[in-house]
Symmetry: C2
């Protein structure tokens, strides 16, 4: 199988590696509008050939869209305009509603499978691509009733061979759940990093003391704005909903501490401990 | 050297293990006001003998206070009342101002070294004690000019043998910095867990999707209220200061998203990316 990957950064590059590591494809064609990324992806052995989008779509059995989410809907339409009835197109973005709405009436909609593999790191670009990725994480497939059965089967087989449990839901559900389990964590991390950077001028101390839980909560603040601004914008209403609730919880916390309400704090924290059941 | 550890939970138990693993002490005496903890600590081999506080203080060369921070100041006074001019007492708590103020005028103040080893996990109790701990993390020693040189030297040697870089600062500085690099991360995690648990009823989905960064930001929400309520209360003013700034940052984020201010979000996130320099 020949695979074209559009956007050879962290996600596209790592997916290229896992496809080759698992023997799922024989050749990976790289497409990227950054000259620098194309060259690095070749040097790093992520891709076998560089092509333009048109050339790649003409040759590939599977076209993978792994660009920032604001570019995916139009890219999906352009690619669907060019594919035949045997080619398959997927995206790997973190948001799905906008995309699925844009391609909903496309005559080749059946060739598209909307996928969100729940894997990533805080790094970006071709250099961030790693071999050990995706396996063991859930992949969400959205609105699969709109995909042709053979296209869906091809993608289910690929993700299964990679070792990813598959979860099915509507694009609306996926965007709501992802706001809770991914997007809010990133906002919290960005805001926490800013809090510390704003208030703490002696960076040396932060560095020295950074063993008290800070790293794990602030790690995501290293993530690229190019990836995340479009995600927050596309999932605006769900993200705002969760963000308002989160600020509300922090304000409750603040008021209890201001009033020396130890018992109230204890109850809130015991309630929060229920997360132990969910995150092992 | 004979060491008495008061509070044989996560921190005291792990410290007992590392002292024995490194050959620093020959015997660990365990003191704990919970019968259950005492028995478990013996069963798990964390301690060699169980004693009352008075018995332990009479025998030990070094007395280690590893109880929740609200009990440490009075405990420190009681132990200092009983020690001779060769014994040494340390605490391992996350806050220092209250403690150092309480013991400031004690005639045996010189025998006390206030220490905050920056290590811990989100688990608690004797069962949470682990062998691989402390090494590589910073330990903060506070107000060391108040400690006798021989007592300070003993403690510096112990932490150095464990492999912990030592940082010196006043108890005021330590409490302020720790609010930034540890305490606020815990509050954020607790609030994030509550946000998701409040709004998200289908816990199955959270579980399935929990690969998107959520685990790392919410991990600390598993932490024990028995440990953390006293820390927040004792460090109230510093914690409130950081918490207010953090809520302010989240509100800026929210307003930018409400107004579709992509450029503003990008600038905030790029600024937050400076944390890359601090956290490798």
């Amino acid at each position: 199988m020949k695979v074209a990957i559009v956007g050879v950064g962290l996600i596209g590059g790592s997916f290229a590696l896992v496809l080759k590591d698992k023997g799922i494809c024989t050749e990976v064609i790289g497409v990227d509008n950054s000259e620098k990324n194309r060259v690095r992806a070749m040097e790093l052995g992520l891709i076998d050939r560089i092509m333009t989008l048109d050339e790649a779509v003409a040759e590939a059995d599977l076209i993978v869209l792994a660009t920032p989410v604001d570019s995916i809907p139009l890219l999906a339409v352009k690619v669907l305009n060019r594919v035949n009835e045997r080619q398959v197109v997927i995206d790997m973005g973190s948001t799905k509603q906008e995309l699925c709405e844009v391609i909903a009436q496309h005559p080749r909609r059946g060739r598209f499978v909307a996928t969100h593999p729940m894997w990533g790191t805080e790094y970006s670009g071709p250099e961030a691509a790693v071999h050990e990725s995706f396996a063991g994480r859930t992949v969400v497939l959205c609105d699969t009733e709109k995909s042709d059965p053979d296209a869906l089967k091809m993608i289910e087989d690929i993700y299964t061979r990679i070792g990813m449990p598959i979860k099915y839901m509507s694009s609306e559900e996926q965007d709501m759940h992802t706001a809770y389990v991914s997007h809010i964590s990133h906002i919290t991390s960005f805001a926490l990093a800013l809090t510390v950077l704003e208030k703490e001028r002696e960076e040396e101390h932060i560095f020295d003391l950074a063993g008290g839980g800070f790293e794990s909560t602030v790690r995501l603040a290293k993530s690229s704005p190019n990836t995340w601004v479009p995600i927050f914008m596309q999932n605006k209403y769900n993200v705002l909903d969760v963000l308002r609730e989160h600020i509300h919880q922090l304000q409750i916390f603040r008021r209890m501490l201001e009033k020396d309400d130890a018992e109230g704090l204890r109850q809130m924290m015991s309630k929060a401990n229920r997360i132990r059941k969910i995150i092992k």
